[in-house]
């Protein structure tokens, strides 16, 4: 039995928590006084029965110091919910500083998860359960907690010094400012230490397990099995069984604590969602992109080459691909962003499926090299995992403000196809589509993802290899009649003739080419012809991409046009509004250059067009310019995704709903 239990250090706090429960439920139950084996609960079954309530879904947010392991805690809850069969969406939100001064406001890291038995499109507008590891985390996050929501705080971190670090003048646990919530004030640090005391660890190491105590509490609250996380701990700490054991114990202790103390009067069930049949896994956008390229490499029959320079939030793609050596993947961590894309251009010239990954500042540096890829007509894929800017901006926050950079951000006329992923799982398919277009048309292609997709996760229906599109590449090998800039009449692409092929020796470069021969040529009319040709080649891709089909009403009062990671919020808002009888449609653009060829006519079928974007109106500018429609921008640039409620409010405003 833990020493902490004997002394009951948490009794007052639990009573206080119960007081608030009592306020909301109209009765106070005295906690059970004797708990024999409070920390011995197993992963399989709770010890005591409790009122069990079934919910459609819940939103839970873990927040604490950036050293508190909130991202791991959140990810573990996510995996368990996913394996359990819930639909879900996550929103990890962490600071750019690896370890800002402990306990301060800039150091707060959070992980939000929306999991449900129904379809989930967003991480949720507001939070049902908030776990706050310190006052700073509480201060930064409590506004998002629903009235009467569950708030679990670690009271061990609410000393005067902690409050001061969070710039708080009074203790929120005592000043009644939290009266609108169901507060569970728990001595997480002390209880964790008590649970681990006989493992022979130092205090610091024990304290690093307290996030797993909190996780155990949440597993109890939402009736989750712990085995998925136990397996992960065993894998993660394969060489350090003590750490695996400590975290497991902390987790079991958190679970048992809830069960034993009866702090919580209700446990919740959130049944599995009715997803379409198939095998599922949980996937983040960056993971999906990495696997998508491994798949693309197989489907086009070329080795995969990644040249990259570390940058948030794209680095995970480099990390992941560097593990896939058994697929023959070459990952080259270059000396800078420019070398990264330059190596990729070299690898493409030499016959690889060559890709580079970066974020906005890196895109800026790669600009000149992208122009070279346009001029030399080599197939490369450039992935821009967008983040807040300008300049270094908000490295860990999401934004969609690189669209115009992707479309136009190069010297002269340098058209590049641009494709955007709309969900974490969609990143997989976008990697395949970008690779297909690049190799078929001999063009560089830009993929736009963003920090929200990159780190966010969702259940993903795993395709079989047979279901994947196949686009085998054929290099030019016959020497007869070879010209490096001869055109395929169908695609306008030039032949891909890789070094090592006898008889096809030729020179390419950034100087203007003579069409056909590829020789350096400065003639006026040849240049104009080449500029038109490069534009026509990209424009012609519109014939090779699907037309848009609006979701919701095919015509009516309002069309929402989105692109990228706003997909979830727009979809959820559209569903809710259509249930209220509003005539709204939604088009989500995957291909941003060229645009689907029927887009102009679709836009004209609605009285109004609104374009929600996490920028100051970039797609809307393009749509207005291209189609002369009076499209309206709806813009949010806070480093945070749209909320469903925000989109809904905009829809109502534009349709003229009076409240």
């Amino acid at each position: 039995m833990g020493r902490g239990v004997k002394r009951r250090p948490y009794r007052f706090d639990i009573l206080r928590g119960c007081r608030l429960v009592a306020q909301s439920q109209g009765g106070l139950q005295e906690p059970q006084s004797e708990v024999d084996q409070p920390f011995m609960a197993t992963a399989e079954a709770p010890v005591k029965s409790r009122t069990q309530e079934t919910l459609a879904g819940a939103v839970i947010r873990f927040c604490g110091d950036s050293g508190d392991g909130m991202q791991i805690t959140g990810s573990q809850f996510t995996n368990t919910a996913a394996v359990f069969g819930n639909d879900l969406a996550t929103f990890p939100d962490f600071p750019a500083e690896i370890r800002a001064p402990a306990g301060t406001l800039p150091g707060v890291s959070g992980f939000q998860l929306n999991f449900a038995s129904t379809d989930v499109y967003t991480p949720g507008d507001s939070v049902d359960v908030l776990i706050a590891m310190n006052p700073a985390a509480l201060k930064m996050n409590v506004a998002d907690l629903k009235t009467n929501g569950i708030l679990i705080v670690n009271t061990d971190n609410f000393k005067d010094v902690d409050l001061k670090k969070a710039q708080m003048t009074s203790n929120p646990l005592e000043d009644r400012s939290l009266d609108g919530y169901r507060v569970f004030a728990v001595e997480l640090t002390k209880l964790t230490r008590a649970a681990l005391k006989d493992l022979g660890m130092d205090a610091k190491s024990m304290d690093r397990c307290k996030n797993f105590f909190a996780l155990g509490m949440c597993y109890w609250l939402y009736s989750r099995p712990m085995d998925t996380t136990f397996r992960w701990l065993d894998e993660k700490f394969g060489n350090k069984p003590l750490l695996a054991e400590a975290n497991k114990r902390a987790m079991k202790a958190g679970f048992a604590f809830c069960d034993a103390t009866e702090a919580f009067q209700v446990r919740y069930d959130i049944p599995p969602a009715k997803l379409s049949p198939g095998l599922y896994r949980n996937i983040s956008g960056n993971s999906a992109l990495a696997m998508g390229f491994v798949a693309a490499s197989r489907q086009c029959g070329l080795p995969l080459f990644l040249g990259s320079y570390p940058i948030t939030p794209a680095s995970d793609i480099l990390h992941e691909l560097s593990m896939y050596k058994e697929f023959g993947v070459i990952t080259f961590q270059a000396e800078d962003e420019i070398a990264a894309i330059s190596s990729v251009i070299g690898a493409a010239y030499a016959g690889a499926l060559a890709i580079t990954t970066t974020s906005g500042p890196g895109m800026a540096l790669k600009t000149e090299a992208m122009g070279l890829a346009v001029a030399t007509e080599l197939p490369i894929v450039v992935c821009d995992i967008q983040r807040g800017g300008p300049s270094t901006g908000l490295p860990t926050k999401t934004e969609q403000a690189d669209l115009l950079q992707a479309l136009f951000g190069r010297n002269s006329e340098a058209p590049i196809p641009v494709i955007a992923a709309s969900t974490p799982g969609d990143c997989f398919w976008v990697a395949l589509e970008a690779s297909r277009i690049a190799t078929k048309y001999m063009v560089p292609v830009i993929i736009l993802s963003d920090g929200y997709l990159a780190n966010g996760a969702e259940p993903w229906k795993i395709p079989t290899v047979e279901e994947l599109p196949s686009f085998p590449v054929k290099f030019r090998t016959e020497a007869g009649g070879f010209q490096p800039y001869a055109r395929d009449p169908g695609t306008l692409s030039r032949p891909w003739a890789v070094p090592g092929t006898p008889g096809l020796e030729h020179r390419i470069g950034g100087l203007e080419k003579q069409d056909g021969t590829g020789n350096v040529n400065y003639e006026a009319l040849n240049h104009e012809h080449m500029v038109h040709l490069r534009a026509a080649k990209v424009e012609a891709i519109a014939q090779d991409i699907p037309e848009v089909v609006p979701v919701g009403d095919p015509e009516g009062d309002l069309l929402i046009v989105g692109w990228g990671s706003t997909y979830g919020a727009i979809t959820a808002a559209l569903r809710a509004q259509r249930e209220k009888g509003r005539k709204v449609g939604h088009v989500h653009l995957r291909h941003l250059n060229p645009l689907p060829k029927n887009l102009g006519s679709v836009l004209k079928r609605y009285k109004k067009v609104v374009v929600p974007e996490m920028n100051l109106g970039q797609l809307v500018m393009v749509l207005r310019a291209k189609f002369l429609v009076d499209a309206i921008g709806y813009n949010k640039v806070q480093g945070k995704p749209f909320k469903q409620s925000e989109i809904e409010a905009k829809i109502e405003e534009l349709i003229g709903v009076t409240k």
Binding site: S276, V329, G346, G500, G503
Partner: protein
């Protein structure tokens, strides 16, 4: 290889493109030397890739009948690295200049050398920007009066070889455009080297910096102002081969042979010395008056090749895990079935 290699001549490596360097440019001589040496190397023509950046020297690929890539300013080492590590079977040469490789592309140059990617680098050093019409370069001497420095430049120049040695290049050599036989010898040695082979080729820009290397190339000066390095041979130079170089403490000194001093008392050149400090001393001795400029191979050591390391890692993982199975990858980790 089953097919026998065609017998190549210099002509096989010439293109039909009109060479557009200024008449009298040192680049012609370098092009000629390379076109003469490539046929001797026993490598199929289609395996050669010549990669360049931007500048006069970077027009080089257009005149070589091989695969060629005229890239963007400064980036040739990075593009060439991408080619070489994805296709180690290719013979990749980089043509670059002092501005291209040491100014805008300085970062790529040192990192290529640090990694020991198997690239042969021809750095044409004319101590001036030619293609932009005559600005001083990172190798121009202090006080250089050029278009952008009418009152003389204030920048200290790079010592090109010291820089390469600082990056621990495994092969570092120098030759001169007009010393054709010497240049070809260096090219052959570079071709035979496993790893990054870095060659500084002193080249005359007769338009914007004419005579920059005259003190080394003029007939009456060259013997006293240069020293031809030969592995295993004593460091002796001068018209009468009567001057030698020996160690004095941590410095070099020039001594006159005779009066009891013989070739046995001077340094025997060892290009394979793994300690780069020796080559470093040689690379900068001519900054002291009275010392000759070293020509030839300063350093040629054997170190693991970057591209081989990459392939070995891949093969090692495949040997351990088996070839990747995409279905398995997609299904890895925690999964669940929805019925």
């Amino acid at each position: 290889m089953t097919a026998t290699l065609p017998v190549y001549s210099k002509k096989d490596f010439q293109t039909d493109q009109e060479v557009r360097w200024c008449p009298g440019c040192g680049d012609y001589a370098i092009l000629s030397a390379v076109q003469s040496v490539f046929p001797e190397l026993g490598i199929p023509r289609e395996k050669f890739v010549v990669v360049s950046g931007i500048g006069c020297s970077s027009r080089f690929p257009y005149y070589m009948n091989t695969y060629g890539f005229h890239t963007i300013h400064g980036r040739a080492p990075a593009v060439a690295t991408g080619i070489k590590i994805s296709r180690p079977d290719l013979e990749v040469w980089v043509a670059t200049g002092d501005g291209d490789a040491l100014s805008i592309g300085g970062n790529h140059t040192i990192h290529m050398l640090r990694r020991n990617v198997g690239l042969k680098v021809l750095l044409f050093n004319n101590k001036i920007y030619g293609l932009t019409k005559g600005q001083y370069s990172p190798t121009s001497e202090i006080g250089k009066k050029a278009k952008s420095t009418p009152y003389g430049s204030l920048d200290r120049p790079f010592n090109v070889l010291s820089l390469a040695l600082g990056a621990e290049a495994t092969f570092v050599a120098r030759s001169v455009d007009v010393f054709q036989a010497h240049l070809k010898g260096v090219l052959r040695k570079a071709a035979a080297h496993q790893g990054s082979a870095f060659m500084e080729i002193l080249q005359n820009c007769n338009i914007f910096n004419d005579g920059a290397w005259d003190s080394l190339t003029e007939k009456e000066l060259r013997d006293d102002h240069t020293i031809a390095l030969e592995h295993g041979q004593p460091l002796v130079f001068g018209k009468n081969k009567d001057k030698g170089i020996r160690m004095k403490g941590l410095e070099l000194e020039v001594v006159t042979l005779g009066n009891g001093l013989t070739e046995k008392d001077v340094i025997i050149h060892d290009e394979q010395n793994r300690n780069p400090a020796y080559a470093f001393l040689l690379s900068r001795m001519d900054q002291t008056p009275g010392f000759p400029t070293p020509l030839g191979v300063l350093r040629a050591i054997t170190d693991p090749l970057y591209e081989t390391g990459i392939q070995d890692q891949i093969q090692g993982v495949i040997a351990k895990k088996g070839r990747g199975d995409l279905d398995k990858l997609l299904r890895a980790g925690d999964t669940w079935e929805v019925k």
